[in-house]
Amino acid sequence: MDDVYFLKGKQIYLRPLEVEDINGPYLSWVNDQEITKYLDVGLFPTNKEDLKSFIMDKNQIRFNFAICTTAEKLHIGNCSYAEINWIHRIAEIGIMIGNKDYWGRNIALETYSLLVDYAFQKLALRKVNAGVVLENIAMIITLKKLGFQTEGRFRKHRFYVGKYVDIMRFSLFREEFIPFSLDE
């Protein structure tokens, strides 16, 4: 696939999610219980039609991106803005790194840095939010490195892996943002 570079980092770039992506590894990710452990996707089997419907569902409050490696142009995950409120200028961000070979390599850090920078610089958003399971220390540290602040704790808010877990809420204002760069 000839790729379109929407946002470019050093290790990865973001491009639109395409219908053709349902023929790649994406389908296996959303059916992999380890990958979807703390996500609301993957509760039931997902097929190509389900993915196609998701990708085709366009609206003004949710935008999805494919995360691809700059070196091999390999599709390794997805990320998104969600629940964008254009009046209050806020949005949620989310990520799923489906290719396990890229876990623990600062991919989420670089991806979120690109997304957040674009949200503040081009979309003129005021505040970016994220929710994380308390046990997901890796993601919490990723958010902290970008300057996210803890806003609260939703106690026993979600049922994952056989138990109710707390969800931590984080937020970031433009002036708090600490961009991540691999050139540091």
Binding site: I137, A138, I141, K144, K145, M168
Partner: protein
């Protein structure tokens, strides 16, 4: 106590210089894996319990020192 914290951090983050201004935002080797190791090391060295919710807030040397000072009864 400060020196002990600094030494623990120098070892875990593999750096020579740590001071009260060091934080997760200005130290590249302060990643999630090292953060987990740090929390375990602090619990062991200072004989204190650090909950998950407390642990995620200990992302700067100043926060760690403040926490340990306020939890002296465990140390």
């Amino acid at each position: 106590m400060e020196e002990k914290v600094f030494e623990i951090c120098k070892q875990i983050f593999n750096v020579e210089n740590i001071d009260e201004k060091t934080s997760i935002s200005n130290l590249q080797t302060w990643d999630s894996l090292n953060h987990t190791h740090l929390i375990m090391a602090l619990q062991k060295s200072f004989n204190c319990e650090i909950t998950a919710e407390q642990g995620i807030e200990l992302t700067s040397i100043s926060a760690i020192l403040h926490f340990l000072k306020n939890n002296k009864s465990h140390g």
